[in-house]
C-alpha cells in the first residue's frame, strides 16, 4: 500500500520538475571534468561507487569493537555501542525523514540526482552498521544487567521495545534498503529514469521518517528503563 501511495504522489511532481530543470545545472558531481559531448554520442553514465570502499575499514573497526565489547562484557563499551549507535540511528532517521526529505522533494531532479549520488552510498554503509551496533550491544547489555529475566519488573516494557524495533527492522530491510540500492543502480544506467528515481527516493525518505518517529517511542521506553 505504501508503494502505491508514494507512486501516486510522485509522478506528477517529478515530471514537472524535470521539464523546468535548467540544462546547465545538471552536471553530476563526478562528470564535471569529462570532455564535452561534442560528437552527439550517448551521454556518459554517472561514475560513482555503489559501496564506498574507503568506508569499509571504519565499518570493520566498529564491528570488531562490537565483538570485543560483547566478548568482554565491558559495561562501558556495551553502553557506548548501544547508546551511541541508537542515538545516531534515531537522529539520522529523524533528520532524513523530517528535514532532508521535504527539502529533497522540492529540488529539481538533477539536483536530487547530484545529492543522491553523494549521499546514498554512504547510507548503504552507515545504517546497517549502526543497526548492528545498537541491537547487538543492546541485547548483550540487557542480558548482562539482568533485564532479560522474567523477574525484571519492567520486562513488559522491554518486550514492547522489541516489537517496535521489529517493525522498524521490517520497514527498513523490506522497503528502505531495497529502495536505496535500486536508486544507486538506476543512476548507473546511461539514461536513468527520473520518475523511477523520484518514486524510490520517496520510499526511502518516507520509510526513514516513519522509522525515525518510531524511534522516539523506543527512546521513551529506553530512558524510562534506564532511570529505574
Amino acid at each position: 500500500m505504501t508503494d502505491t501511495v508514494v507512486t501516486d504522489t510522485v509522478v506528477t511532481d517529478t515530471v514537472s520538475t524535470a521539464e523546468v530543470a535548467p540544462p546547465d545545472s545538471v552536471a553530476p558531481p563526478d562528470s564535471r571534468e569529462s570532455p564535452p559531448d561534442a560528437r552527439g554520442g550517448p551521454p556518459p553514465p554517472l561514475e560513482f561507487s555503489i559501496v564506498p570502499v574507503r568506508g569499509l575499514p571504519i565499518v570493520a573497526i566498529l564491528l570488531i569493537g562490537l565483538i570485543v565489547a560483547i566478548g568482554t562484557n565491558n559495561l562501558w563499551a556495551l553502553d557506548f555501542f548501544h547508546v551511541g549507535g541508537g542515538g545516531l540511528w534515531t537522529s539520522i532517521d529523524l533528520f532524513l525523514g523530517l528535514i532532508i526529505g521535504p527539502i529533497l522533494g522540492r529540488l529539481s531532479i538533477p539536483a536530487r540526482v547530484e545529492f543522491t549520488v553523494r549521499f546514498m552510498p554512504k547510507m548503504l554503509l552507515i545504517m546497517p552498521t549502526l543497526v548492528a551496533m545498537t541491537l547487538g550491544a543492546g541485547f548483550q547489555l540487557a542480558r548482562h544487567v539482568g533485564n532479560l529475566d522474567a523477574s525484571y519488573p519492567h520486562h513488559g516494557w522491554l518486550v514492547a521495545s522489541y516489537i517496535i524495533v521489529g517493525v522498524m527492522a521490517v520497514i527498513a530491510l523490506g522497503l528502505l534498503e531495497p529502495a536505496n540500492l535500486a536508486v544507486l543502480f538506476e543512476l548507473k544506467k546511461p539514461r536513468p529514469n527520473g520518475e523511477r528515481i523520484g518514486r524510490l527516493m520517496k520510499i526511502f525518505v518516507y520509510t526513514a521518517g516513519i522509522t525515525g518517529v518510531m524511534q522516539i517511542a523506543t527512546i521513551f521506553i529506553m530512558t524510562f528503563l534506564a532511570s529505574r
Partner: protein, 147 residues
C-alpha cells in the same frame, strides 16, 4: 555539455511495463522477514524462561515455506537480469552473513540453551538468505534484460 542526468527519462519505459508480469517476490520476502522477526521477538521475550517454543517454531517454519515458495517463483521468471541479481545477491549475502554471524556469536557466547540456539540459528539463516534475495530482486527488476 551533455550528461546522463540531462537525459533522465521522465516517462515510464519498457522496464516499468515489465513490472506487472513479475511475481510478488518483494512482498513475499517482506512477509518472510516479518515472520522471522516475529519469531525472534517471541524468542527474545522468553529468552530466560521455560516457555513453549511452539509459536517460534511455527513462525520459523512458515517463514521457511514462504522463502522456498518465493525462490521457486523467482526462478520461473523467464526473462530477468540474472547477472545483476547474482552480483547483488552475492555481496549482500556476504554482508548479512557477517551480521547474522555476530548475532550467532552473541547467542553462543551467552550459552544459550541448545533448543533455543538451534531455533535462533535457523531464523538467522532464513534472515541471511531472505534479505539478500529481496535486495537483489529489488535491483534486478529495474535492469534491462539481456538479449
Amino acid at each position: 555539455m551533455s550528461t546522463a542526468t540531462d537525459q533522465l527519462r521522465p516517462e515510464p519505459d519498457e522496464v516499468d511495463l515489465r513490472q506487472a508480469s513479475l511475481p510478488p517476490v518483494a512482498r513475499l520476502a517482506t512477509l518472510t522477514l516479518a515472520l522471522v522477526v516475529a519469531g525472534g521477538i517471541w524468542m527474545a521475550a522468553h529468552y530466560d524462561h521455560h516457555a513453549t517454543l511452539v509459536p517460534a517454531v511455527v513462525l520459523a517454519v512458515a517463514g521457511g515455506v514462504v522463502l522456498v515458495a518465493n525462490a521457486v517463483l523467482l526462478s520461473r521468471i523467464p526473462a530477468f537480469a540474472w547477472d545483476v541479481f547474482f552480483r547483488v545477491f552475492g555481496w549482500a549475502l556476504l554482508a548479512y552473513l557477517v551480521i547474522a554471524g555476530i548475532l550467532e556469536y552473541v547467542f553462543i557466547f551467552d550459552h544459550t540453551p541448545s533448543r533455543q540456539l538451534a531455533l535462533f540459528s535457523v531464523m538467522l539463516a532464513l534472515f541471511a538468505v531472505n534479505v539478500p534475495m529481496l535486495l537483489a530482486f529489488s535491483v534486478a527488476r529495474y535492469q534491462p534484460v539481456p538479449d
